[in-house]
Structure formats: structure tokens, C-alpha cells
């Protein structure tokens, strides 16, 4: 989990990329489309490659052989662990927040 936090402003796009690659290997455009469908966020090319280069640097994803101008990436074991930790934390926060909202409805 600490690894993604080290990425500063790139941690959120990094998490989206990891979540996209959890489904299987993808190249840049496939990731952008998948993330848009999954989270409603369209990653710009600079943001996507800023995140990809950091994730690759940290060993959370790995580049595969290029297919023409496209190069697919896959999630590594370390990447899967980091993604699981992050999503577990987010889910716990979401569960707690939602149960609190149910208990004490704000603005009702």
C-alpha cells in the first residue's frame, strides 16, 4: 500500500491502472477505455504514461512484447498484492461511511 502512496498525485491513476490490469493484460488504449467504463474517468495520455512508468519502476506492472505500436502490460504479483490492500482499505472506508450515513442521515 505504501508503494502507491509514494506516487503522490499519480497514486489515483496508478490505482485505476492496476484495477484495469487485474482483468488481464492490456495496452494503453484498452486501459483508457476500460478505466472510463469502470470509473467514469478518462485518463489523458500524459497521466496514463506518468502512472505506467511509475508502476513499472516499482515492479507493480510489467511490460510485455510490443505488438506493433502497442505494448501490453500485465499486473505482477507485487502489483496484485498492492491492489488488494488498497481496495480492501477503500472498501472498509466505504462500508464504515455508508453504515454511519444509514445510522445518522445527514441533511434529511
Amino acid at each position: 500500500m505504501a508503494k502507491l502512496e509514494q506516487m503522490g498525485r499519480w497514486s489515483e491513476p496508478g490505482l485505476l491502472v492496476l484495477a484495469s490490469l487485474a482483468e488481464g493484460e492490456k495496452h494503453g488504449y484498452a486501459m483508457v477505455s476500460d478505466i472510463e467504463a469502470m470509473a467514469g474517468v478518462h485518463l489523458g495520455p500524459g497521466t496514463l504514461y506518468g502512472a505506467l512508468s511509475r508502476l513499472e519502476e516499482q515492479g507493480l506492472i510489467a511490460a510485455l512484447a510490443a505488438e506493433g505500436r502497442r505494448r501490453p502490460y500485465r499486473l505482477t504479483g507485487a502489483g496484485a498484492r498492492v491492489l488488494r490492500e488498497q481496495l480492501t482499505t477503500i472498501a472498509a472506508v466505504a462500508d464504515t461511511g455508508l453504515s454511519r450515513l444509514r445510522a445518522t442521515p445527514v441533511g434529511a
Partner: protein
């Protein structure tokens, strides 16, 4: 989306990819261009490319930097440093031209801080010229020897390129001065545009030629690591000189505007903004160039430590 310039977003995006460091482009450039083919970027997407390029320059020690040999990275960084010096030199020349009126000299004599700021710019310019001479002359000597003793035709053209550009610019300047009736530039917007726009474009082309020539020459010469180390040490002095020039320019603007509002508010012609604005823009340009120069000199030192 197509801009008024006729440049499509895809073409503009490809140009922006060129702003990334060479090592980064070598590792990610092809696939990023592939992505831009599949998903032409919006205006915001183009903005992310600018931010991404700046970020890549600020992260010099990544695995992708290893995709280019240290000596080549050192050469590229030194070339970038020289380009920054050319930019600061142009700004410095513009600064001198903007304040050539004797009223500015009188103001500098009257206000100590203004005079000090002006002297700081001059001291930086002199120090920079000395650093260029010390760091660049050995490389120029090597280029001249290789170009003319070994009859290296492309290198001969590269060596002659900045001289030819400067000669053409000087000739155009003389021609425009001769053609434009005395005082007409200050009176007529059309004459000012007809004279100044070609002159500015020619100046830009001349500066580009002067900045490109050392880059091309360094790529062809492949100087030894020792020669690059020598130039890199001079590069540290050059970066310090650029800092001096920048500090002097910023101080000059900060002092001039409040103490001499009439001088800072005057304009050199119908298409020319006020002196204060011109000097402030110059100071900003010098600040940006100096920041890039500092990054470049740091990168060249790191690359040479690996070589």
C-alpha cells in the same frame, strides 16, 4: 477539433511528445504515439502531456534513463544547457535594447538598487561568456579539426550554420533599417508590423540555428568522457551565470516599476507593450530557462558519474 493554426490535435500531441526527455521517448515514445493514434487527445489531454513531460524531466534517475548510454545523455544535457544559454542571451540582448535610452542610464545612476540590478545582469553575461569560452572552445576546436582536416562535409555545414545564420540576420537588419523610413516604425502600426514581424522571425530562426548547431556537432563528434567532464564543469559556472542574469533581471523589474513608473510605462511603438511588461516577460523567460539549465547541468553531472 482543429486549431486556427491548422495543426490537428494529433499532430500537436506528437509535437508535445517531443518535449519528453530522449531516454523517456526511447522507452515509451512509440507506444504513446500509438495511443494518440487510437485516442486523439482533447485540450485537457494535451495539458496532461505538458505536465507529464515536465514531470519526466524532473525525475532524472529512473530505469528508463538507462535506455540511453551515459555519454549520450551527457551530450544531450549539455546541448540543452547551451540552448538555455541562447534563450537567456536573446533575453539579455532584448533587455539591453529595451533600456538603451539614456534615461535608463540616468535612472540607474540615481537609484543604487537599479544600477546594482543592471550590473548583476552584466556580470552574469560576462561570466556566462567566459564559461562558454572555457567549456565550449575545446569542443569547437575538435569540431573544426574534424570538419576541415578530415573533410567531414556534414560537420563543415554544421560549423558554418550559426555563422551563416548570424550573417543573414545582420544583413536583414541592415536592409530593414534602410527600407523603413526614419521614425515610421514608431508612428505606423502597419510599417511596424511589416518591419518587426520578419525581423523577429529571422531572429528566432537565427537563435534556433545557433542552438541546434552545437547539438548536431556534439552528436557527430562523440567527444571523450574527459572532454565532456570539462564542459560539464564549465556548465556549472554557466548555470550560475544564468542565475545571476535572472536575479538581476527580476530585481531590475521589481525596482524599476515603483521608482520609475514613467519609464516602465513607456512603449517603443504601436505594436510594442510597455517596457515594464517586456522586461517582466523577459525575466520570466530567463527564470524558466535557468530552471531547465539547472536540471540539465545536474543531469549531465549524473550521467558523467555513470560513464
Amino acid at each position: 477539433m482543429r486549431r486556427a493554426t491548422g495543426i490537428s490535435p494529433k499532430r500537436l500531441a506528437s509535437l508535445l511528445v517531443g518535449l519528453y526527455p530522449a531516454a523517456w521517448r526511447k522507452r515509451y515514445g512509440t507506444e504513446m504515439l500509438g495511443l494518440l493514434e487510437d485516442d486523439p487527445p482533447s485540450l485537457r489531454g494535451l495539458g496532461t502531456l505538458l505536465v507529464g513531460a515536465a514531470d519526466a524531466h524532473l525525475r532524472p534517475q529512473c530505469t528508463w534513463t538507462k535506455s540511453i548510454a551515459p555519454a549520450v545523455r551527457a551530450r544531450l544535457s549539455l546541448s540543452a544547457l547551451f540552448c538555455c544559454w541562447i534563450a537567456v542571451s536573446m533575453i539579455g540582448i532584448g533587455f539591453q535594447k529595451e533600456i538603451e535610452d539614456p534615461a535608463f542610464s540616468r535612472a540607474a545612476a540615481h537609484h543604487t538598487l537599479l544600477g546594482l540590478a543592471h550590473d548583476t545582469v552584466l556580470a552574469g553575461a560576462l561570466l556566462g561568456a567566459a564559461a562558454i569560452a572555457i567549456g565550449g572552445l575545446p569542443l569547437l576546436g575538435q569540431a573544426l579539426l574534424q570538419a576541415f582536416r578530415q573533410h567531414d562535409r556534414p560537420l563543415q555545414l554544421i560549423v558554418v550554420l550559426p555563422l551563416a545564420a548570424l550573417a543573414c540576420f545582420a544583413a536583414l537588419t541592415r536592409l530593414l533599417v534602410a527600407l523603413a523610413p526614419s521614425g515610421s516604425v514608431a508612428r505606423s502600426t502597419w510599417i511596424a508590423l511589416a518591419v518587426l514581424v520578419p525581423w523577429w522571425l529571422a531572429g528566432l530562426a537565427c537563435a534556433t540555428a545557433c542552438a541546434l548547431a552545437p547539438r548536431l556537432a556534439l552528436a557527430r563528434l562523440a567527444p571523450s568522457a574527459d572532454a565532456l567532464r570539462w564542459s560539464s564543469r564549465a556548465g556549472v559556472v554557466l548555470a550560475a551565470a544564468m542565475m545571476l542574469v535572472t536575479v538581476g533581471l527580476i530585481a531590475y523589474v521589481l525596482v524599476l516599476v515603483p521608482v520609475e513608473p514613467r519609464l516602465s510605462g513607456q512603449s517603443g511603438g504601436p505594436v510594442w507593450p510597455s517596457t515594464g511588461l517586456v522586461l517582466a516577460l523577459g525575466a520570466l523567460g530567463a527564470l524558466a530557462s535557468t530552471a531547465i539549465a539547472l536540471l540539465s547541468v545536474g543531469r549531465s553531472r549524473r550521467a558523467l558519474a555513470e560513464a
